[in-house]
């Protein structure tokens, strides 16, 4: 009851037409983030230490003596040189236990399930048939990255991309204001309908929350920001609109500086 009274008291304060909803439509990363240089180096170093401190591989347990696979394993992993008292070792005498030099990490080479040095044709033929084929992962950079196509959803797979549009004046996030004639519409619906209007209906998106995540207060208007993710489909401009999918750094170049500073903390760095 009380709240309703409050509602009435406030409702006439601001004109509905001054309220607008801005959509932060993002494409989430498809692949894992690029590791910074220091982290990468640190992990590699730790990995080396870890391998150095690893116990000797119990090959007799995995490869039974006398079997074919054991023979293949033996061919790949040569025995280290034993501590021969008649030989001089300028870099220290080896300490062999269970066919491993205790001073170093043990490098175990496992027999491959596929044949090495096969011609590409054979490989292609085997690619679809053989379960034990060699796995070659796709490249982390795509064609869109190479061609510099900023309107593609396939660019910068490791980063979060945000949709910005240009209506002839400047680049900005899509913004939709309430028409004074129509009834008051929730902010997220306003953004959704606006998006369908400018980008076509074939966009599968996920609205994170109905709650606005930020407010940009200007003299005569209030812009509420709504966050959502595009999951599939694509943005097809319905009018003569230019659009781009940009990362945070690129946004700082294209957006107005003060505007970017306002929304900077809402944008994802990876």
């Amino acid at each position: 009851m009380l709240s309703k009274v409050n509602l009435r008291a406030y409702s006439s304060a601001v004109k509905p037409s001054s309220i607008s909803s801005t959509l932060l439509l993002s494409r989430n990363p498809v692949i894992t983030a690029d590791i910074p240089k220091f982290e990468d180096q640190y992990f590699k170093y730790q990995n080396e230490l870890w391998r150095r401190l690893m116990w000797t591989f119990p090959k007799w347990f995995y490869y039974r003596v006398g079997t074919l696979s054991e023979q293949r394993f033996r061919e790949l992993n040569k025995r280290p040189l034993y501590n021969n008292p008649n030989i001089e070792y300028p870099r220290g005498r080896p300490e062999i236990r269970q066919e491993r030099d205790r001073r170093f990490k043990q490098e175990v080479i496992l027999p491959k399930t596929y044949e090495e040095n096969k011609s590409s044709e054979d490989e292609e033929a085997a690619a679809n048939t053989s379960m034990s084929r060699k796995i070659t992962p796709n490249s982390r950079t795509t064609k869109a990255d190479e061609s510099g196509d900023t309107s593609s959803l396939e660019r910068k797979l490791a980063r979060t991309l945000y949709l910005v549009i240009n209506d002839g004046k400047s680049w900005k996030f899509p913004n939709f204001s309430l028409q004074s004639t129509e009834a008051v519409k929730p902010l997220h619906l306003l953004a959704e309908e606006g998006l369908y209007q400018i980008g076509g209906k074939n966009i599968n998106y996920f609205n994170v929350s109905n709650t606005p995540c930020h407010l940009i207060n200007k003299d005569d208007s209030k812009e509420y920001l709504i966050k959502s993710h595009i999951l599939s489909g694509q943005f097809v401009p319905q009018q003569s609109l230019k659009f781009m999918w940009l990362t945070k750094e690129e946004l700082s170049e294209h957006l107005d500086a003060t505007y970017f500073k306002e929304v900077e903390h809402l944008l994802n760095e990876i």
Partner: protein, 391 residues
Amino acid sequence: MLHRCQGGMQRLCEEGLKRLGSVKAITQIRTATKRTSGSKTNKNDSAGRRLGPKAYEGHFVNPGQIIMRQRGTVVHPGENVGIGKDHTIFALEPGYVRFYYNPFHPLRKYVGVALKKSLTLPTPHFAPRIRRFGYEEILDSSEAEKEESRMSRKEYLQRPKLEKARQESEYQDEQRLNKLVETFKEKFDLGLSESELNTVSDRFLKVCKLFSVGSSVEEAANQVTSDHILSLRLQNTNGSLSKEDMEKQVDAYLKLVNKFDGSVSVDANGNPCEKLSFSEKQSRCNEVLKTLEETYSNRVLSDEDKTTVYSLINNPLLFTKEEQTTLLDKYLPPVLPISVKDSIVEDIDLENVPNDINIVKLFDESTGTIKTVGRKKQAYSDLSKISASSY
């Protein structure tokens, strides 16, 4: 009579409890393990164990007197009391029994012995402890002398050995002293009188001893000076030296020391040597190191070269013993490293090997291969032989 006595005891106990104030009244309960009167279930009866407090609050107790008999620690031992293996609490000091609580263990009851009647327990945490000395002075002089010369069996058995060691060291000191006086007379032109020479030698010996247990030369010299001045001062306070004499002697000693320390120093072996200034020592060290680095490193050394290197390094004036071993290991290693190219002969006829070459098998870690090469016998050096030949 007995009755009255008991009554008195009870009164005392009550009085003690009143004084205790905050402490809960400890009522005398007979906490026997078995009831004394017979019962149906306890056929195998045993007598009461006569537990409970044997001395009450405020009672005077002597050392060893039992204060409490109990099963388990009903009451914990506090100050000046001990606890037996059956948790019997007994006094360690003569004094007055106090039952109390300890703020550090709020759930425990304690009993202690206060050394004075006026004292309460626990003693305040930051206050000094009150302690009893308890030893009587022996006033009879002959008795006192006898007691003083009494020694433990261990000390008694060790005495001849210690005495022998003392004499031995005294003898050695004397020998060294004589030798030092000779050295100072012959090798160093100090211009000192006989008595001064003796003082100086004595001082030098002391400095050497301190130097050998790890103090620096300067530190040791200061220590010896201070010891000497202190002994003069003490002679003055004892009355065997007048004040003027003392001051005169101190001045003379300081002057002598100044003169002596300016010209003589201790080398790494603990022998007297010419004093070098820091910069001079540095430059000479560098010179030696430079020669070693430039002419005698990374190549096969002949026997003469080895002797030269050894004598260069074995210089107690310039290098400490640690530095000497490090340098010897560096420039005269047991075997030269394989990185020294001219110590290795690659093409070798295994059928007839020259006399001055050893055949060795080398494992190359980077390639993982074994190489058979010849190494010149000169590449091997034996320090004991070199040191023998250098003298």
